[in-house]
Amino acid sequence: MWQVKCHDDHRAFDQLVARWEKPIYRLCTRMTGDPHLGEDLKQETFARLFEKRKNYQPTGRFSTYLWRIGLNICHDELRRRKRRREFVADGVEADESGRQEDYPADDPLPDVQTVALEECELVRQALVQLPEIYRTVLVLRHFEDMKLAKIAEILDLPEGTVHSRTAEALVRLSRLLEPKLRAAPSDKTEESSVI
């Protein structure tokens, strides 16, 4: 990164992208629940990294710096989507059910709508239904296998807060998944009995 910052070294930047594009893609996809959007946000992350290369201070770890940029871009995008959704809802009618949606891409993907909800889709939906603060810690801890202390460093939070957020995330996730998982096998048995 130092090479990129001081000498605008494109080759070094290319190496950085090659090293980090997969983790950042995973992060963006899991935060938004949409692989296409994840791909776009990954590119935006690297574009911003290059754009802000002069601001980089090598006092901390580069990975922390990059994760922060990726997360900020995800948060910005999710906030933008939420605002757009609220704007559309206001324009049409007040929410009839009164349910407030504080999650982003909770609609099933188009190719999944036609098929029965599989476990993968159940998990995706459950995760995107979690509020952002809980989804973030869960994505970083479970999928990226980061230590809780590292997550606290990235999010610039006390470690205790990260622990409590992770606990709350697990509680909420269990509440969302358990009924569906219990229902899923019974559906399968019903289907088999019909056949």
Partner: protein, 206 residues
């Protein structure tokens, strides 16, 4: 019964609890059904998370380039192998065909040589033309430079002559002025000389 805090369970579930804490929590799980149920639900949920597999990331085109090069090289080698194999098999089975093939090869070699010679001739003529064009262009450029330099020198000479004439005029004017002044000074001196004896005579008379 004192239940451990959820924060402690987080470290336990993710394998970050210290060994003492781990033992204590495990002990508690054995005794407390409520906590056991909760933590099992957490672990089931964590296990379910692994079901969310991501689609493969789109590869960058430049990352595919070496692969493409290898694919082209491999297919070329394979085609070459097939061709050679086919030719050798035909040679064994049919000598007449081999002769025809040899003839065709020699004809192809001849035509290739003729084509090469024609190309070389054409390219030689083109090169000569280009060189001639370049020489003419260079000469023209040199001539233009020479003309421009000459014009510049002439301008400079004219400027020098004009300056010389102006300087000479100034000097002549200065000389004439000086001459006038000298004449005037002489006259003044003469007048002074004329006046001097009269004054002396007047003083002697007194």
């Amino acid at each position: 019964m004192n239940h451990p805090k959820p924060e402690e369970w987080v470290q336990y579930v993710f394998g970050e609890a210290s060994s003492a804490s781990h033992r204590r929590l495990q002990e508690h799980l054995r005794e407390c059904g409520e906590c056991r149920q909760e933590i099992e639900a957490w672990q089931r949920s964590r296990g379910c998370l692994n079901a969310w597999k991501l689609p493969r990331m789109q590869r960058r085109p430049e990352a595919l380039a070496p692969l493409l090069r290898w694919a082209v090289a491999t297919s070329f080698i394979l085609m070459l192998g097939f061709g050679l194999g086919w030719l050798t098999s035909v040679r064994n089975s049919n000598a007449g065909f081999q002769n025809a093939l040899d003839r065709a090869q020699s004809q192809t070699a001849h035509s290739l040589a003729a084509l090469e010679a024609r190309l070389a001739k054409t390219s030689g003529a083109e090169t000569r033309q280009l060189v001639q064009g370049l020489t003419v262009m260079l000469e023209r450029a040199r001539e233009e430079d020479r003309r421009a330099a000459l014009a510049l020198f002439r301008d400079l000479a004219k400027q020098h002559v004009a300056a010389y004439v102006a300087l000479r005029k100034d000097l002549e004017r200065l000389a004439s002025l000086t001459e006038d002044e000298i004449r005037q000074a002489r006259l003044t001196l003469v007048q002074l000389v004329d006046q001097t004896p009269t004054n002396e005579g007047e003083t002697t008379k007194q």
